[in-house]
Symmetry: D2
Subunit: 394 residues, 4 copies
Amino acid sequence: MSDQNPVFIPGPTNIPEVLRRACDLPTIDHRSAAFADIFVPARQAAQAVMKCETGQVVIFPATGTGAWEASISNTLSPGDRVLAARHGMFSHRWIDMCQRFGLDVEVVNETWGNPLPVAEFSRILTADTDHRIRAVLATHNETATGVTSDIAALRTALDAAGHPALLMVDGVSSIGSMDFRMEEWGVDLAVTGSQKGFMLPPGLAIVGISQKALGHIDQARLPRTFFDFRDMLNSHAAGGYPYTPPVGLLNGLACSGRMLLDEGLEAVFVRHRHIANGVRAAVDAWGLSLCAREPASRSDTVTAIMAPAGFDATAVVSRAADTYGMAFGAGLGDVAGKVFRIGHLGSLSEPMMLSGIATIEMVMADLGYPIMLGSGVAAAQRVYSRPAQRAAAA
Amino acid sequence: MSDQNPVFIPGPTNIPEVLRRACDLPTIDHRSAAFADIFVPARQAAQAVMKCETGQVVIFPATGTGAWEASISNTLSPGDRVLAARHGMFSHRWIDMCQRFGLDVEVVNETWGNPLPVAEFSRILTADTDHRIRAVLATHNETATGVTSDIAALRTALDAAGHPALLMVDGVSSIGSMDFRMEEWGVDLAVTGSQKGFMLPPGLAIVGISQKALGHIDQARLPRTFFDFRDMLNSHAAGGYPYTPPVGLLNGLACSGRMLLDEGLEAVFVRHRHIANGVRAAVDAWGLSLCAREPASRSDTVTAIMAPAGFDATAVVSRAADTYGMAFGAGLGDVAGKVFRIGHLGSLSEPMMLSGIATIEMVMADLGYPIMLGSGVAAAQRVYSRPAQRAAAA
Amino acid sequence: MSDQNPVFIPGPTNIPEVLRRACDLPTIDHRSAAFADIFVPARQAAQAVMKCETGQVVIFPATGTGAWEASISNTLSPGDRVLAARHGMFSHRWIDMCQRFGLDVEVVNETWGNPLPVAEFSRILTADTDHRIRAVLATHNETATGVTSDIAALRTALDAAGHPALLMVDGVSSIGSMDFRMEEWGVDLAVTGSQKGFMLPPGLAIVGISQKALGHIDQARLPRTFFDFRDMLNSHAAGGYPYTPPVGLLNGLACSGRMLLDEGLEAVFVRHRHIANGVRAAVDAWGLSLCAREPASRSDTVTAIMAPAGFDATAVVSRAADTYGMAFGAGLGDVAGKVFRIGHLGSLSEPMMLSGIATIEMVMADLGYPIMLGSGVAAAQRVYSRPAQRAAAA
Amino acid sequence: MSDQNPVFIPGPTNIPEVLRRACDLPTIDHRSAAFADIFVPARQAAQAVMKCETGQVVIFPATGTGAWEASISNTLSPGDRVLAARHGMFSHRWIDMCQRFGLDVEVVNETWGNPLPVAEFSRILTADTDHRIRAVLATHNETATGVTSDIAALRTALDAAGHPALLMVDGVSSIGSMDFRMEEWGVDLAVTGSQKGFMLPPGLAIVGISQKALGHIDQARLPRTFFDFRDMLNSHAAGGYPYTPPVGLLNGLACSGRMLLDEGLEAVFVRHRHIANGVRAAVDAWGLSLCAREPASRSDTVTAIMAPAGFDATAVVSRAADTYGMAFGAGLGDVAGKVFRIGHLGSLSEPMMLSGIATIEMVMADLGYPIMLGSGVAAAQRVYSRPAQRAAAA
C-alpha cells in the first residue's frame, strides 16, 4: 500500500496536511485556559456544521458507535420502543445495539440499496396512536450501500402523525459533506465522528442534542457513565471535560470546522456533489449499475457499485490494494461480494478523484470486467473539465 | 504558556518527537492487512508492558474512565457488591461510577495521602465468608495524592482470606512507569490509558483481562455495547476492530511499547525512580512535606507537595503557567488548595526535570514561600550529577 | 494550487513523507559525533548512487549551479579551453558560467531536442592534437528538452582520440533516476543536487570527483573559497564541514540514499522508465510529438511535448496551475512557448502519474487542443495495468 | 545526546516548532506565483530586521561563509586593500578568505576577548589619505569569544576620517538578536545566515547591500557566478531566483521574520539581554571570568567562559554531551581548551536557560571545578524571577 496514493475508503478520509498538523499538538495542560481556547471554538464549529442552532453539542473521546450509544442511553429507558429500518450495515448495527440495551425495536426490513421507507414509517407512526414509540432511528447516509435517506420527509411524516417520538439521525457519513439541517429537520439527536466530513483521524464522537432531547435526559434510565450527557454538559459549560480530553483531535476539529465554514457549507456540499457526479458518470460509462436504486437517493459521499454477475466484487478491492497500492471499500453484510465502494468524501481534488477512477478501471480490466480502459476516466473528465470559454465567462 | 517548556502535569506527559510522528499517520485502510501490521504488535507490546502473560488485552478508542467502565460492565451485574477505598480523587471517581451502575459499593474511607488500607481490606475480606464481595477495586497510584498502594500485599490478603473476588486495578498512572505485575499479583482487570506511561496523546483505553475475568463475561448483566469485551475480543482475534480504530494512536502504541521494552521495563522503572528522587530531594531542601505520608508509598510518577500553612497551593500552579509558561498540577478534591503536584512520568531527562524544579522554586519565591532560591535545584543536582570518578568507574 | 496534488515539474520532485521527516530534524550540535553519524552514511550513499567508486564526493550547502561552479573553479584556470554543446537551457547556462569565469569555451550549437553531438565532439577532440581542450562539458539529461545524451559514447570518443581532457557531466536530472556510471564512463566531475533523483528539498550541491580530477585541484587557479574542494575534503575526511552544514538535508540524503540502494538502482531505473513509458504512450495517443527527436534519447525523468502549431504551450502550464491546481513545466529558452513539460522523476506511483496525465488532458481539451479526453489516460493505463493472469504468473 | 534537551551551542539555535513546520513545506512550483507569495514577504522581513531601509537584500541558498564571499567578490577587485582585525575565529576566517581572493589585507591583531580596536582603525583610516583602503571589515559579534564590537563607533571613525571605504559587517550572530542598524550605522554590506537570530536551519546566506555598495558591483572584478549579486537582484526583482530556490527555508524566513517583527525588534533585544544577564550572573556566582574582557562588549547571544587554570575547557563540552545529553560550544582557535561557550540566542525561555545553567553546573562539579552546585542557578533565578508584588504592579 503506497502512502503516496489517496485513499478511497468511505472514511476515514484523506487528512489534509493542515489538519494533520493541527492534530499533532504537543501536550498542553487540559485544565488550563489554553485548553478552552481550543475547545470552545471546536465545539462552536461542530454546532455550526450540524446546524444545531438551539441545541447543545457534546464531544466524546470515542467513535461514531459511542455516539449512537450516548444517544440512546441518555434519552431512553429499558423496554422503550424504537422504530428503525434495516437497509444497510450501519442501520443494522444500530438496531443490534438497541436490542442489546433492552429496547423494543420495531424493525422495518428494507432492501439494501433503498433508502429508509418513509411511507412505511409514516404508516406505523400514524398507527401508533398511544405513542408507544419513543424514538425513530434513521441513517442519513448508509455508508454500506451509498444511499441517502430523506430526513426532511421523515420529519414531515412525524409531524403529520402528530407523533412526539425523538428523531435520532446517524449523520456519520453525511454531516460536513452533504446537506444536513438539524434544527430545520427537527432532528433530536444527530450523531457523527471526526473521521468523515471533518477529515480528521477517528477518535471523536460528536452528538448534537435538541432542547427536546435535553428534556429527556433525567428520565432516561439506561445506565451510562463514560457517555453520560450530564457530566459532559456540566464540564463543557465550564470549557472542559470530566476526564482527559483528546486535545489534539479537538484542535483539529476547531481547524477543520473553520475550514468548512470559511469555504461555506453550501460550497462544500456542491463540491462533494461535483466529485460524486464524476464518479457516477464513470460508472455509467463502464455500463455498471449502482447499489443505490433510486437516482434521488444516490450518496454524494460514497458510491457502491454492483459487480457484474459472475464477478467477485471483493477481488476489486484486494487487487487495488495489492497491485496498485490504493484502498477502496469492500461490500459489507447483505452486499458483501456483490458491491465494491468508492469513498469520495472529505478533501478530494478532481485530479485525485481521477487517479482513483483510473486505478479501479485498471483493476477491473485486469480482472476481466467487460469495461474499456479510459472510458470511465473520460466520462469523469467531461464532468470535471472546464472549456476555456466557460472558464473565461465565469 | 510556552510550547517550548516541558509540562509537569501528571499526565498527559510530554510526548517524545518519535511518538508524535508515529501517531501522525496518513489515513490507511483499517480493514487491510496494513492495519494488522500496526495493531498486532501494539497489542502485544501493551500486553508485555502490563505483564499480562496469560490474559487478553483489549484497547478501546476512549480514555481511562472508559477502561474503568469496561472493567466493571463486562464482569459484574446490577447489585453486585464491590469493595473499594476512597483516598484520592481517582479512587473516588471509580466508586462514583460503580454506584451509578447500581453496584453495592462497600467504601473504606481513608485519609488522602495514605495508601489503600490493606489491613482493613484484609479484615473485611476475611469476614466476608459467604463471598458477597464480587470485586475488589484498587488504585495502584493515586495521581491526586502521589501515593502508591501495595497491590502485591492486597493479593496476599485476598489469598489469605481465600476470597474469590476479582481484583481490579487502576494502573493509569503507574503502568509503563512503575513496577506492575498483572500476572504475578493476580490482577484480574488492569486498566490504563495511552497518555501516561506510554507517553502518547489521550485516546486509548487499555484493559488487561485475566483468564479468570474472561470467565465472568458471559454472566455479567451490566449493559454495554461500545465497551463490550466480546465484540472487541472477537475482532481483535482477527486483527481488527468492531468499529473504526484510532490507527495513528495504535501506531504510536506499537512504537512506544517497543521503546519501553527495548529500554527494559526494569530500567524504565529505575529511571522514573531516579527522576523522582531528585524531586523529593528538592522538596526536602525546601523544608516542605509531601502529601504522601509514608515514605514507602511515595509515587515515582507524581509528587504532591503540601503548601505551608497560610499559602494557597493553587496559586503556585496558576503563577507557573501565567508567569513562566510552565504547567504543573493543582490539588483536587479533598486536597484542593492544599497541595500542588509535580508530574514526572514519561520521557524526562535530568535537565528537563531541573528546569521544572528551578521554575517552581522561582514561583514559590515570588509568592513569598519561605524557601531559598537554588536550594531545591542543588539538592536535585546532587541526586542527578555523576562525579567523574564514579562515572569513570561505571 | 492545491497542496494535495502531486507536482509534475521536472524537479524539485514530490518529497516522500519519510524524507520530509528525515529533513525536519531538531537542531543537533554539528561539531558532535552525532553529526558524523548522519554525514558519513549520507556521503557514502551519494557515492554509491553516483557509482563514484574510487573518487571522492563533496557536498556543499548550495544548489546544482554551485556544483557546476565548484567543478570548474577547482580544476581549471583562467583562459583554459573547454568544449561544450549548447542544446538546451541548462547546457547554455553552464557555458555562460564558464565564459564569466574567463574560460575559452568552444561551443557546439546543436538543435534543441537533439542530444549532445558525440560525432562532432569526437571530430573536435581528434583534431585537438596538442590537447588545448582541458575539459569537456556534457549535460547528461537536458531538463529543458527531455533529452538524454550518451555519456558512454562520449567517453569512447575521448578514449579513441587519446584525449586527456577532464570529462565533466551535469547529472542533475539523471543521477538517482537513470543509469549513470561515474567510474565506468570515466566521468571526472559528476554534478547533482538534492531535489531531483534524491527527492529532497533543494539545498545540497553534490559533486563526485575522480582521482584524475583530484590531481588537478592544486594547479587550478580560478579563485574559490566557499566552493573550495580542499577545505571540504579536509573537513569531510574528519566527518565534518568547514562551515555550518545543513544537517537536516544531510539526514534526508542519508535516508534517501538508503531508500534508493535498498530498492536497488537498477530497479529504480526500471521504475522510472516504466512511468515514462506511460507518459510517452499518452503523448502518442494524443497525436502530439516530443521535443526529443530521437527515440533513443528520450528522457526517463522529463518529457517535453511540442504544442501543435498555433497553440501556446505556456497556456497549458498556467491553466493547469490556475484551474486544476497542478504544476507542470513550461518551455524555457529556445523552446519557450513551444513545449510544455511533464516531470516524472522521483517517487511517483502509477495512480499519481495517471492523475497528471488525466489533468493535462483536461487542460488541453479546455484550450481546444485536438485531443480526445481519456485517450492518453487509456494509453498509459495499457502500459501500467497488469492483467491478472500475468500478475498471477509473476 | 537527548533530542529532548535544548541546545546551547551558539547557533544553529533551537528551532521553534512553528518554524520547523514552516520550513517543512511540500514541493511547490518555484516558477509559480505561489513562490512569490512566500519569497517577497521573506525578503521584506529580512530587510526590516536588518534595518536595511534604502538598500537591497539578496538571499543565497548557502551559509554565512557564502555571504562573506558574496560581499567581497561583488564589490572588490584583485589587489584591493581591505582593513580587518583578527580577534576571534570568525574574523580570522574572513581575513583568510580575503587573502585567498588576492586582496591585500591590512590585519590588526587584537587579543582574543577584546572587541575590534576602533581607535587603531581610526588611526589607520585617518593616515590612509589617498584612500587605498577600499573596505573595512568588522565582525559585529565574535561568536568565538562572546565579544560584541561597536559598529556605530567604527562608522564615526570612518566619517571623522572622511574615508570612503565600504563598511562590511559580519552580523551572523547578532542580527535578529542584538541591536543592529544597517542604515543608521552606514553599513554597506551586512551579512547573516538563517540559523542564528532567525532560528531556522542553516541554508540561507542573507546579505544587505547599501546603495553605495550597489554602485560598486559593476566595477568589481573578482569572479563570481553562483554568488553574483546582479543575477540575484534581477531575479529577485521579478520575485524569483536564477536557480532553484530553497522554498521551505524561505517560507521559514517569512515566518521567522514576521515573528520577530510582531514581537518588536526592541523587545527581542531586551529578551536576549535578559537571558544573557542570567547567564552572566551564574558565571559571577561560580567565580569564573568571561573571555570578554570589557563589560560593555559582553555579547547577549553567546557567553564564552574561561576555565580555571589547570582545567581543560573542552572536557566540559564533551562531558555535557556524553553524560547529560546537552550541547554547549567548545573553544576555537586561540582559545581552544581555554574557554567553553554557552549559546543563548534565538527562542529560549527562562526555564530552558535554567536547565542549561543547572546542567553545566553539574558538569563542572563532576570535573572538580571549584564551584558550588545550585549557586549559578540561584544567581540566574534572581535575575529571572519576578516577585509577585512587582508582577502585580506591572
